[in-house]
């Protein structure tokens, strides 16, 4: 699965994108955030406060209980601040 990071999540994790092989038990967006925390201390720190970690699946905002599949484009980012 391809994962994209934006804004301070990108700078804290240190890469704009990464490709991961998901274990079978990772079924939802929320599961993914939890699982990503275990990848490195940088991930753990960046993703510590899930209130400010938003998820998009295939370029649509989704809640944490949204299902994910290996072919999805998943993005993690802080609350948006445009306009």
């Amino acid at each position: 699965m391809k994962i994209l990071y934006f804004a301070w999540l990108r700078s804290k994790i240190g890469v704009p994108t990464e490709t991961v092989d998901l274990p079978a038990e990772v079924a939802t967006a929320g599961d993914l955030v939890e699982w990503l925390k275990t990848r490195s201390p940088r991930h753990a720190e960046a993703l510590a406060n899930s209130k400010v970690v938003k998820v998009a699946v295939n370029q649509e905002h989704v809640p944490y209980d949204h299902p994910i599949a290996a072919t999805d484009e998943v993005a993690l980012f802080p609350p948006v601040t445009g306009g």
Partner: protein, 150 residues
């Protein structure tokens, strides 16, 4: 329908002229232009860099425009949002709505800005005397978007 996400500046007068050219059924146009301020949270801001999520940005803006057209009788909608490095006084965003009547133009223009601020994937990085800092989302922006709930 026009959604544009671009690094370049835009000319508000030229955009208005193009937006209204040849339209004789339009009774009113509402426009909003957002600018970079030189102060935020009490601190001087010397520059701002707007990051976005190419692809999702356009998709979200299109969805927001579609929602505005569903709610109000609009002749046309224009949304221009810039990305990249901007300085105080620079234009960031422009929204224009055209309708036969002013209420639809005013209300939909405000709706587009309120929804854009909470749904379009843009993030602002400010340069201040203390270094760079990411702008935090405001609860007031969420409240502004929430009042349009149906």
């Amino acid at each position: 329908m026009a959604i544009r996400v671009q690094a370049e500046d835009f000319d508000v007068g030229a955009e208005y002229a193009a937006f209204t050219a040849g339209r004789t059924s339009v009774g009113g146009v509402a426009m909003f232009v957002g600018l970079v301020r030189d102060i935020a949270g009490g601190e001087a801001v010397s520059a701002m860099t707007l990051e976005h999520y190419p692809g999702m940005t356009e998709r979200q803006l299109e969805a927001i425009e579609e929602e505005a057209r569903r709610r109000w009788p609009l002749d046309d909608v224009l949304v221009i949002h810039r990305h990249g490095r901007l300085e105080p006084g620079d234009r960031i965003v422009m929204v224009a709505t055209a309708s036969a009547h002013r209420d639809a133009a005013f209300e939909s223009c405000r709706f587009l800005m309120d929804w854009l601020k909470t749904k379009a994937p843009f993030w602002k990085l400010e340069a201040t005397p203390d270094g760079e800092r990411w702008v935090e989302a405001k609860d007031s922006d969420d409240a502004a978007a929430a009042r349009w709930a149906e």
